[in-house]
């Protein structure tokens, strides 16, 4: 699944580690989501959306 996580993170000048801390996950998890290797669970997707003040659909793109 494509997403805008890297762009949103860059806009805030956050490192992956900083974003991981905000989301209470590991840096590896942030990296895997950004690279599209892992699709987050719904609770984590909501957490990401809340953090950036956007809807899930604005951040994650359904490729189906």
């Amino acid at each position: 699944m494509k997403n805008r996580l890297k762009v949103l993170r860059a806009e805030r000048d956050w490192s992956q580690a900083v974003l991981a801390e905000h989301l209470n996950v590991s840096r590896q998890t942030v990296n895997a989501i950004e690279k599209g290797r892992y699709d987050p669970s719904l609770p984590l997707a909501f957490k990401i959306a809340r953090l950036f003040g956007q809807s899930i659909e604005d951040i994650f793109e359904d490729e189906a």
Binding site: S26, R27, Q28, T29, N31, R37, Y38
Partner: protein, 135 residues
């Protein structure tokens, strides 16, 4: 607690418990071959390593539960692969052993086999996921 701290604690606990298990197994083997020890003492010596097995599995379970969802998924996948391989080997060996003249393989080997399969699996899965460090 950060993920790195959890990993560090997990590694330390596993190293300590694995060492305890190996020493316990060696002590049980020595006790088993002893001609001077009472049967009760030998039973106790044989039970001690099993306590380490339960402790190792408990530590692994707690560690997996403490990980975030992505790392937990990778660790769990490796555990499933390890379990499947050990069940497959034990099951495949067991029937010929029971019905044909295949050498006896002690059930004791299931645990080392599981952790060997788990170690290989997690190494491959981590490499595939481009994860560095121990999980």
């Amino acid at each position: 607690m950060t993920t790195q701290q959890k990993i560090k604690n997990y590694r330390q606990s596993m190293l300590f418990l694995s060492a305890g298990y190996v020493i316990g197994v060696m002590a049980a083997a020595v006790a088993g071959h002893s001609k001077t020890l009472s049967p009760l003492t030998i039973y106790i010596a044989a039970i001690i390593p099993t306590l380490f097995i339960f402790a190792i599995l408990w530590v692994q379970w707690k560690f997996v539960k403490s990980l975030d969802e992505y790392l937990r998924a990778i660790h769990t996948e490796a555990m499933i692969i390890g379990s499947m391989i050990s069940i497959a080997v034990a099951g495949s060996w067991g029937l010929p052993e029971m019905l044909a003249d295949v050498p006896h393989l002690p059930v004791f080997y299931v645990m080392p086999l599981y952790y060997l399969a788990f170690a290989v699996s997690i190494t491959v899965l981590k490499k595939r996921a481009k994860i560095t460090g121990c999980i």
